[in-house]
């Protein structure tokens, strides 16, 4: 046997690579494939430092796992019964670790933990009264209360807490702003004569874990059915990240299958129509299979997971990766006989190679912004494009066979017509160009950019309506913005919180803020607890305090006063500590506020409720070194705007890089003509968006980078295939159809940023194809053919 030929060697190389890919993916990759569905995992990590990130992890992650369900019925008794049935059903599910319905947080339980410390704990209002010398007013109120029903609303009987100071403190603790009230051991709210009972459930895993989603959704559906059969006229309202995560991943899965099927169908139809036999189709499908497998493997290997939205985006790759196979088989249309794969490679190989590189450059631009999701999309696409191109170059020569078929009549006729078209010359050309430039300039002047991250994510309307219904019944929910407070130790932290709270209290009084949750409200700093004691010692329990005359006036014997005084004195060294409170069963909603030990000490979150004005809130923290307002939504939006501007420069840089590749291959003078199509495509796309009033964003600009990479292919193919223009036009038109189809499906995505990307790419590719054809259709008039 003689030395194997070069085509054999190349095929062997390709086969080895594909077999290695198959083996490694079968053995290693597929068993551990992890699909990420958290939309926020696509976004950049904006946290300016580790402590903020820790607080986001802790506070936001805990909030993400927590789901609120409101079971609503006509009367409290039926709502409660339905909620009990709901809870019992939900507790059956292993997807939830904690389902809370009956609250342990009653006055008795609070009293058991806090009772021993009651002589150091004061409600803010009472502390202010004592500190400003208004102790007598408290005593007067206590006295009057004995003669009216107001005196019945006390935590402890008069003899144990005459001024009801401890009662006031407990009241301030359970007083969460909102419409919920403790009723028969459950939290209930009334709206329009209907009563809702609250059930909260904590997920075992992240709401974005696909496995957890399936289990949890089924459990919630079963529990809702149980609630509805337990009483009449029951409605169940959901609120929580889970339902959004489920909706988003279901939507993404649906889109992958729909978009993928449509693109694939398009590819199959185009192949069958253009090439009229099964062999090209089989090879095209093989190319796609290799490309997809290589892409998924690469992303899983590099990132340890693959994002669902990267897969949605990747479904458009079908339309792009198929281009090289189309160019390859279009070579059969030249009518060279005998035709072979090797002849095709000799003819279009360079064009495929240059096209592959420029397209990859376009996709690589997605790697620049620090968006994990975009980087996955870039790796997915680059690997897919390269493996598809290499498959065409290395494997096709041996597999393509020798049969030659003429192009379908209609395609050939269209291509002939296009290739013979002369663009308008002279004055009419100048006028057309002027009009086009004018329209483009007008469109560009109207183009606006919107970088708000909220505009780039969306949830189905019914879910948002449910969310609103829950908020209405709860009387407001916790804001996504919060204060992060830090301290070198717990005591410093609590003191810093108290400084912040003084300012927040003013906002609450001015109705700029509905309320807030802070650890230091339950557990004052040790310094403040000592201060409280000192105030109580002089103003209330001391010999000159208000207690003695109050009791004497009512007719108590002095013994009673002395007993109270002795109780107070005996509690001298008792200070309630934060860990003690957090470890108790009562901390409940407060526990999520504790961030814990950080690199700089300890940190906590002050959660905000009902924020009226953000600027006022920002101003509130001004001058406080240890408290910062964290606004992740605004932070991400700022990052989006920042990278959108960078991406615009990146577009210019990519243009330059492609210009260098083109100049190296075709010379500097050919550059403007070759680059006019992709550049014109980008400009016209932006102008069209402007005219349509569709705002652009980072993803629009990233799509234009793709257009640049893809569009250069068309001009490169036309340039390389100048000798057989008609065939090249057929090839790039078939390729453009599959690409437009792929991005066209993306522009129908329900995920706004994929939609932005798809729409811009769709317009860009279409314009680029038009311009490329128009330019190439005019062979240099003075150069005879």
């Amino acid at each position: 046997m003689s030395k194997p030929s070069a085509p054999m060697l190349r095929f062997g190389l390709w086969l080895t690579a594909v077999l290695a890919l198959l083996a490694s993916s079968g053995i290693w990759l597929l068993p551990q494939l992890r699909i990420e569905t958290d939309i926020t995992a696509m976004l950049p990590q904006t946290a300016p430092d580790a402590v903020v990130e820790q607080s986001l992890d802790r506070f936001a992650a805990a909030a993400g796992r927590r789901n609120v369900y409101l079971i609503e019925a006509d009367a409290f008794a039926s709502a409660r019964a339905a909620a009990a049935a709901f809870t019992a059903a939900l507790r059956q599910s292993p997807a939830f670790v904690e389902v809370e319905f009956e609250r342990g947080l009653d006055a008795k339980a609070l009293d058991a933990v806090l009772g021993p410390y009651r002589h150091t704990l004061l409600a803010d209002a009472d502390r202010a009264a004592l500190a400003s010398g208004h102790a007598q007013a408290l005593a007067d109120t206590a006295l009057r209360a004995l003669y009216s029903p107001a005196g019945l609303m006390r935590a402890r009987p008069f003899g144990e807490d005459p001024l009801n100071l401890y009662g006031d403190y407990l009241q301030s603790l359970v007083a969460a702003p909102g419409a919920l009230q403790l009723r028969d051991g459950v939290l209930a709210s009334t709206l329009d004569g209907r009563v809702s009972v609250m059930v909260t459930a904590t997920l075992k895993d992240s709401p974005f874990a696909l496995g957890a989603q399936t289990g949890a959704s089924a459990a919630v559906a079963a529990a809702s059915a149980a609630a509805r059969s337990a009483a009449a006229e029951v409605r169940v309202y959901n609120s929580g990240v889970l339902q959004h995560a489920v909706a988003n991943s279901e939507r993404a899965k649906r889109e992958i299958s729909v978009f993928g099927s449509l693109s694939l169908l398009g590819v199959i139809l185009v192949c069958l129509y253009c090439f009229g036999s099964l062999r090209p189709l089989a090879l095209v499908l093989m190319t796609l299979a290799v490309g997809t497998l290589a892409s998924i493997s690469a992303v899983q290997w590099l990132f340890g997971q693959i994002h669902l939205l990267a897969l949605v985006f990747g479904s458009s790759l079908i339309g792009v990766a198929v281009d090289y196979a189309i160019h390859f088989f279009s070579d059969r249309f030249r009518g060279v006989r005998p035709w072979s794969g090797q002849i095709a490679v000799d003819h279009v190989g360079t064009a495929i190679l240059v096209g592959m590189l420029t397209t990859s450059l376009g996709y690589l631009a997605l790697i620049v912004p620090p968006f994990p999701g975009l980087r996955q999309m870039a790796v997915f696409s680059v690997v897919g494009v390269l493996s598809a191109g290499l498959t065409a170059l290395l494997a096709f020569p041996l597999l393509a066979g020798h049969s030659v078929r003429p192009p379908p009549v209609a395609l050939a006729a269209a291509a002939r017509w296009l290739s013979l078209r002369r663009p308008p010359q002279g004055r009419s050309a100048a006028l057309a160009a002027l009009l086009l430039i004018g329209a483009a300039a007008f469109g560009l002047s109207r183009l606006s950019f919107v970088d708000d991250v909220r505009a780039l994510q969306s949830s189905p309307a019914p879910l948002l309506a449910q969310e609103a219904a829950v908020q209405q019944r709860l009387g407001g929910g916790t804001d996504t913005r919060f204060f992060l407070v830090e301290g070198s130790d717990t005591e410093a932290l609590l003191q810093h919180e108290e400084q912040l709270r003084t300012r927040l209290d003013r906002l609450v009084a001015d109705q700029q803020l509905a309320g807030y949750l802070a650890l230091s409200r339950a557990v004052p700093s040790a310094a403040r607890q000592r201060q409280n004691r000192a105030l109580l010692a002089t103003e209330v329990y001391g010999d000159n305090g208000v207690l003695r005359p109050l009791l004497a006036g009512l007719g108590y014997a002095d013994d009673s006063y002395q007993r109270l005084q002795a109780d107070f004195a005996a509690a001298d060294d008792r200070i309630l500590s934060l860990p003690q409170w957090l470890d108790s069963a009562l901390a409940g909603p407060y526990r999520g506020l504790w961030v814990g030990t950080t690199d700089r000490g300890v940190a906590s979150v002050v959660a905000l409720i009902g924020v009226r004005d953000l600027d006022t809130l920002r101003a509130t923290a001004a001058g406080l070194d240890s408290a910062r307002l964290i606004d992740r939504v605004a932070d991400i939006s700022t990052v989006l705007a920042h990278y959108r501007r960078i991406a615009l420069f990146g577009l210019a840089a990519a243009l330059l890089a492609i210009a260098v590749v083109v100049a190296l291959r075709y010379g500097l003078r050919a550059c403007p003509r070759l680059l006019l199509a992709p550049v014109g495509g980008c400009v016209l796309t932006l102008a069209t968006l402007g005219l349509l009033g569709i705002p652009g964003n980072l993803f629009t600009v990233l799509a234009l980078l793709l257009v640049l990479g893809l569009g250069v292919d068309y001009t490169v193919f036309l340039r390389e295939g100048a000798a057989s223009r008609q065939v090249t036009i057929m090839a790039i038109s078939a390729a453009a159809v599959t690409t437009v189809l792929a991005f066209g499906t993306l522009s129908a995505s329900a995920t706004p940023f994929i939609r932005s990307l798809g729409l811009a790419a769709l317009l860009g590719v279409a314009y680029t194809w038009l311009i490329a054809i128009a330019l190439s259709a005019a062979p240099q008039p003075r150069v005879p053919q």
Binding site: L146, A150, R154, Y556
Partner: protein, 227 residues
Amino acid sequence: MKRLLRSLALIGCLLLQMPAHSAAPEPAADVFAHPATITALRVALTPATRPLQGAQSIRGAYRQQKQLHELPRPLSSSGRFLFLRDTGIAWTTIEPFASELVITREHLIQREGDNEVLVSAAQQPALQMVAEIFFAVFSLDFDTLESLFDLYGGANADGSWSLGLRPKQAAGSVVGIQINGAAQVEQVLLTESSGDLTRIDLQQVQISQDAPDAADRALFSSPPKHP
């Protein structure tokens, strides 16, 4: 004169009905020995609940006696009350201090002379609870009462009735409520955990089907104060 007679008649009735609660208030444990169902109570209390059907307002005078642990003599107070359906309760103390407590579902107002303190329900969810208990007791709304309390009591031999309420959820120092009445609610007894006992006698109770007038309504709104 008429009023005096009616008061005397009422006191007479009280003496006849409840010899156990004669002079000083003391806990009436017996009612809590008889757990009751909501249906049984509906039947037993029909004489009292019938006039309440469609009642727009209930008004009258009250006398409160509070017996505190360690205090030898009870604290007495008196005044008047007004319950407006769907609006709230105004509790006006005349002796020994002039003060007024207004409870609605939206807010609590405490008036003393010109001084007025308003606490909104949003700031104090427990307030809504208190309002609800008061409304339920006055209008004998058994559904609401049953959701908050374990129910006891029933009809007595003479046509009067006693209703016992024990909180299902300990929410404060009150551990038991007893309501006595015949044609209407006549007496409320509240027991606290320390043994403190509050007894409220309702007198000259008038139930009206008419819509309340402007003066009555004014009691329930708080003029916004701008110091």
